[in-house]
């Protein structure tokens, strides 16, 4: 009796200890986010008078308005979406086709091709920056969103091919054989059979690649020059220079820049985490 009691008490303490530890850790992680949310809704006068680290004495959405309109964050957010969405769709379409060919057909050098494509994605982007900016200049694409889409597709596709290839390899060949007997060509097999079965991997990669492309800074500042064409990450750095020490505006800009990926994360959390593991466990 007492032994059981003691064990139950020990377990209760262990649970309390766990929640205390994990709770403190989570708090440590959430404080910066809470702080930026609070700061974004304070007025400039409040921050100037009471300091950045003080409790808020005001509530206004003026910082958001300033960041959105005067700071150009609205335009920048649109630019980011104009780049991210087609890039994700295009690179996944291209990658799934290549993965289909490499996974389901006996192409010569298919393993080498696969690894060469993956290897391209593993290169440090720094080695590509100067030539890519020069190539986009030569093509007349410099300072246009097309250059950004092009390089993002080209750089990302290798990794997506590798992940989708692994996924498609695991689809039983019998399913495809049945379609071949029914007279389906490669396009129909790809479109009607393999693609639907690959949806989970596509969803995972889609959620993941959206955040990567949306969050990119380096490629954007390499191939773009005009402020009004910059995506939200680059615009955020501009905001920092334009609204020096107007922390309510800078915080509001950060919230605007983070919101879309947080929405994607919350909506596709399961896929998102699956995506990270898909790429890594391989």
């Amino acid at each position: 009796m007492t032994a059981m009691n003691r064990q139950a008490r020990r377990r209760a303490w262990a649970t309390a200890g766990f929640h205390a530890g994990a709770g403190a850790l989570s708090l440590l992680w959430l404080v910066p986010i809470a702080l930026v949310l609070v700061t974004s809704t304070r007025s400039f006068d409040d921050i100037a008078a009471n300091g950045l680290g003080s409790l808020p004495h005001s509530f206004t959405l003026g910082g958001f308005h300033q960041a959105w309109v005067d700071g150009g964050q609205g335009r920048a957010l649109l630019n980011s979406l104009i780049v991210s969405i087609p890039t994700v769709l295009l690179s996944l379409a291209l990658a799934s086709m290549a993965a289909f060919g490499l996974a389901r057909y006996d192409l010569p050098f298919r393993r080498t091709l696969l690894l060469v494509m993956l290897g391209g994605n593993l290169l440090p982007p720094q080695i590509l920056l100067i030539p890519v900016s020069k190539i986009s200049e030569a093509l007349g694409l410099y300072d246009s969103l097309y250059a950004l889409i092009g390089v993002q597709v080209g750089f990302g596709v290798g990794f997506y091919v590798f992940v989708l290839h692994g996924f498609m390899r695991s689809i039983p060949p019998e399913i495809q054989q049945a379609a071949v007997i029914d007279g389906a060509g490669p396009w129909q097999i790809y479109r009607r059979i393999i693609m639907p079965l690959t949806t989970p991997a596509l969803a995972a990669l889609g959620a993941l690649s959206f955040t990567w492309i949306f969050n990119d800074l380096l490629w954007a500042i390499t191939v773009l020059r005009t402020d009004t064409k910059m995506p939200i990450t680059a615009s955020l750095i501009g905001l920092q220079g334009q609204f020096v020490s107007m922390w309510n505006v800078i915080a509001a800009g950060s919230v605007i820049a983070a919101a879309p990926t947080v929405v994607v994360f919350l909506r596709f959390q399961r896929h998102f985490v699956a995506g990270l593991n898909l790429g890594a466990v391989k």
Partner: protein, 300 residues
């Protein structure tokens, strides 16, 4: 059809792949060749030239690499990059593993804790940097917290001080990376067969012995992945430094990646910038190769 008889065909040495399938593979490959492989080759070539981006590149052989020996900023950047690898990389692996061990068990509330640690992973490093810049301000939360605990003497202009800038930049990078590493380790821990632990318990193994002799060896695969991710991420790190300090003050938080960018696009020394990029590539080379070797083994 090709799949059906693939094995037999391979033996006969004849392969017929439908042209559509060939196009399926070639179009993406060409896209990558155009935006990655071709530029990469040019990048290596440009590292052997002196180029201002306007007139024709002048071939100087290994001159750029030679110049690095005498370049004190390069030395700082290289040292900082190594420090970044060790500190950012080492701590994110250790703390990510620690968080995963703490949060591995399915129990009430654990989903919330995991999400809290994971949330920063979806932020851009640029936004992360600005969030932390607010924390580091002279009247920001960090200095105020120090005051609150009577440690006011430690108050600091964290990002403006040469001695603290690099470490002040690492913290936000860690804040974002730990959740990512945690997810990788959580998946790894989930993959360990519980029978192993039960057998160990029957044998009277302590918690530590179980960790030492089951968990650690079973995580070998994930460790390799985490190591690759960390090294590649470390060498690519750019956004957070650029947004917080641009490598300053006085190059004290300069990484090879930021130095490369400013050399190429602000000083317009494209040849020397390319050579710096090659150094980054060389540092990443071992990891890239081991990643590809592992991928090669699992490609079938």
């Amino acid at each position: 059809m090709a799949v059906l008889t693939a094995a037999r065909r391979r033996r006969r040495g004849a392969t017929r792949v439908p042209p559509v399938v060939l196009a399926f593979v070639l179009v993406p490959l060409l896209a990558e060749a155009f935006w990655v492989f071709w530029p990469a080759v040019q990048g290596f070539y440009l590292s052997l030239t002196d180029w201002d981006g306007v007139s024709a590149p002048k071939f100087v052989g290994v001159g750029n690499y030679h110049e690095m020996f005498g370049d004190s900023v390069f030395r700082t950047a290289l040292l900082d990059t190594v420090l970044w690898l060790l500190l950012f990389g080492g701590l994110s692996a250790l703390l990510g593993l620690g968080a995963a061990l703490l949060l591995q068990q399915e129990r009430r509330g654990v989903g919330f804790y995991r999400a809290a640690l994971f949330l920063p992973v979806v932020f851009s490093l640029t936004a992360t940097a600005l969030v932390w810049q607010a924390m580091y301000q002279p009247d920001g939360l960090i200095n105020n917290t120090l005051d609150f605990f009577g440690l006011g003497s430690l108050r600091h202009a964290w990002l403006a001080d040469q001695d603290t800038a690099l470490y002040a930049v690492i913290v936000p990078a860690l804040w974002r990376q730990i959740g990512y590493v945690m997810v990788l380790y959580l998946a790894g821990l989930k993959g360990i067969d519980p029978v192993l632990y039960e057998a160990a318990k029957v044998d009277g193994a302590t918690r530590w012995q179980q960790f030492r002799h089951i968990t650690i060896p079973q995580l070998r695969g994930v460790n390799a992945v985490v190591l690759s991710v960390i090294v590649i991420d470390s060498l690519r790190s750019f956004d957070v430094v650029w947004a917080l300090t641009r490598g300053g003050p006085y190059h004290s938080s300069e990484l090879l990646s930021t130095y490369m960018y400013s050399t190429a696009f602000q000083s317009l020394r494209l040849g020397y910038g390319s050579a710096l990029a090659v150094v980054i590539f060389v540092l990443a080379f071992g990891v890239i190769v081991s990643y590809l070797v592992r991928a090669f083994r699992e490609a079938d």
